[in-house]
């Protein structure tokens, strides 16, 4: 899922305080799982902002609402009326949701309440780790199910590099060397012979460096 963090409260307050009618708008899918931008978080943030406004003596009306997904037209149907009211929407969606809303409601400012960080997993309660960078050409079958692009600081395709020491990466002693993990896993799987094969230079054109990407699925189009 997409992992995000709520922006510092002071920054959010600074963004909204000059508006009169603010809607804190949650997105109840990915960013709800990381407790950053779900509808519950929208309720809490709305309440905190109202208390802040009261204490600062600022006349500002703050409401909260949310939908299941801010990145798909259909989900907005139930909220269209609610979205007519505000003169500013503080979206608690990821960067995708904010942009999707900005395009959909082009006459309204849609501000981000979150810093979107990465595609990751819930390692344990409260710990989220990056696992995928969406390179567009998955190599996990060849690398023991551990991604060298998202989990190796250098994105090395034939690792480990010289900075790998005792299974840790040179950029931080707390960070596992992805290639050490790959070799360990391949050993368990009995596929270490594959490790000997040199992986050719990766074609990065399917990655973001090839420009923003679009997928067209004609079979799904209406």
């Amino acid at each position: 899922m997409i992992v995000a963090e709520q922006k510092p409260f002071e920054e959010i307050w600074g963004m909204i305080k000059d508006y009169k009618k603010v809607l804190v708008f949650g997105c109840n899918t990915c960013v709800a799982v990381c407790h950053a931008g779900g509808n519950k978080e929208a309720e809490s943030l709305g309440s905190m902002l109202r208390m802040q406004a009261k204490q600062e003596g600022v006349e500002i009306e703050i409401k909260d609402s949310g939908i299941e997904r801010q990145c798909e037209h259909e989900f907005f149907d139930s909220a269209l009326k609610t979205l007519e009211w505000p003169d500013l929407v503080l979206s608690l969606g990821c960067g995708v949701g904010v942009q999707f809303m900005a395009a959909k409601f082009s006459d309204k400012p849609i501000f981000p309440g979150l810093n979107t960080t990465f595609m990751g997993a819930v390692e344990e309660a409260g710990i989220f780790t990056e696992k995928c960078q969406g390179c567009g050409k998955c190599v996990l079958a060849e690398t023991g199910g551990i991604c060298p692009i998202s989990r190796c600081a250098k994105r090395v395709m034939n690792g480990p590099c010289g900075g790998s020491t005792k299974g840790k990466c040179e950029i931080s002693k707390d960070l596992d060397c992805a290639w050490q993990l790959i070799i360990d896993r391949m050993e368990i799987l009995g596929t270490l012979d594959k490790y000997e094969e040199i992986t050719p230079i990766k074609d990065w054109s399917s990655e973001r460096s090839g420009g923003p990407r679009t997928i067209v699925r004609e079979d799904l189009q209406v």
């Binding site: 409260f9 809490s44 905190m48 208390m51 802040q52 009261k54 204490q55 003596g57």
Partner: protein, 55 residues
């Protein structure tokens, strides 16, 4: 979370008690009320008060 809007975290507390602890309930209420009295009114109440007197 509440401290971000100037509310002292001391204003929130959690107690564990069973259905048979009637006297403990009375005790908790008395103690907690005394504690809040010492902390004074919440910043929200003060802000409300200010607004009212300003009008």
């Amino acid at each position: 979370m509440v401290s971000k809007v100037n509310i002292e975290p001391d204003r929130i507390e959690m107690f564990n008690l069973s259905a048979a602890m009637g006297s403990r309930w009375a005790e908790i209420c008395t103690e907690f009320t005394a504690k809040i009295k010492e902390l004074g009114p919440s910043p929200i109440w003060i802000a409300d008060q200010k607004k009212r007197s300003g009008k």
